[in-house]
Assembly symmetry: C2
Homo-oligomer: 224 residues x 2
Amino acid sequence: MARPAKKPAKRAARPAPPKPYHHGDLRRVLIEAALGLAEEGGPQAVSVREAARRAGVSAGAPFRHFADRDALMTAVAEEAQRRFRSEIGAALAEAPAGDPLKRFRAFGLAYLRWAMGNPAHFEIISSGRHFDHDRATALSRDNAELIALTKQMLADAFEKGQLRSGELKQIQITGRALVYGFARMNIDGHLPRWGVTEAEVERMAESVLDVFISGITRTTGSQR
Amino acid sequence: MARPAKKPAKRAARPAPPKPYHHGDLRRVLIEAALGLAEEGGPQAVSVREAARRAGVSAGAPFRHFADRDALMTAVAEEAQRRFRSEIGAALAEAPAGDPLKRFRAFGLAYLRWAMGNPAHFEIISSGRHFDHDRATALSRDNAELIALTKQMLADAFEKGQLRSGELKQIQITGRALVYGFARMNIDGHLPRWGVTEAEVERMAESVLDVFISGITRTTGSQR
DNA sequence: CCTCTATGTAATCATCGATTACATAGAGGC
DNA sequence: GCCTCTATGTAATCGATGATTACATAGAGG
């Protein structure tokens, strides 16, 4: 039980890249461990020591790879964001190219689904309390891109006469507040007291999105 | 600097009620200190020891009044909720009695204003991560009342023909997700990256509420 | 083969939540 | 008016955590 073998199998399979020395790939393993801890007990359940324990290394080892706990959480957040974006991208790839409002809806739905399915990881990347966003440049860039994307979709929708109002910025923020709010209601355990059972969550997410979209859609006059 | 006088002035002014012994009113003072700590550094900045320090007592003293940190946070949350509800009540008292949709809007606006003005306290009562909600019965009851209140307002609005859809539950959840989401965007520091400056926040909150309300309002046909 | 550096270990420190044994100040019985 | 009793506060201590430091080691490359 005292970690007798340190993964000796991995010795041979290591070429030129800056791969690590002793452990297999401690940095990576620590991030995975932290992702798991967050999933199990929420973001605040992530402790450097517990991640080290799961990786089978001493309590000080992680600090060779991360300056402090915050740096670990930043790496965790960047991994989570990568997964999140990948899902969003997949959803958009399947959405109809010519209908901006449908694409907007598909985006919102993918956002909500990922947030429902990965509450802890979603909280890490969005709550702003779990790491210093100023250090996570990749994540900030990603976010900016997504913001620009929704802005463009709304502009296109307006251009095509799909919207009944031209206050695009207000509409954009409203939509964002809506999906973020629903995601957080789920994370924060509000939905049961609002009469939404576990089984209904996904369906309600879709309904909520539709209440919003039908509210901004032009109904009178020509549609396109 | 070594706490020479333990508030000797308060000795005389204490009648029959179950007032405390040594300290003036440590329980109360600890709650106030914790509220202050949360305001300054966010809910996670609340530590039992720091609250004790601010109250001028030893590190163990708070545990005479609160079983653990969670109990302190619960008391803090209940105080915050009391203030929150008081503000909501004041707003509703000023809203027109005969127009349910206007009352609904007034409610939402009061909600948003309080959340903007007291982000840390709002987070404590709503995020669900800072104390065990099962222990806070008063708070749960309060919440249930507010939920019932919004439900009633929407039902009245529908009754009066103010709504263009009868899917009241979906509308209710959508509205809640919206205000909660906007409040959290503010707390979590999202608004700047969505192009909302500090000075615009209050106005944007109102706009967002109006985008939603105009979306659910019946426009065609008779209004009332 | 030898050295050099990246990586991991062990020991240590401060802070925090929490518990325990002890001290004390008022309240109320007598 | 004294005496005891209990609520309250203190001091010391424990275990967990983040973080730092001195030391050990394994592989790379001259």
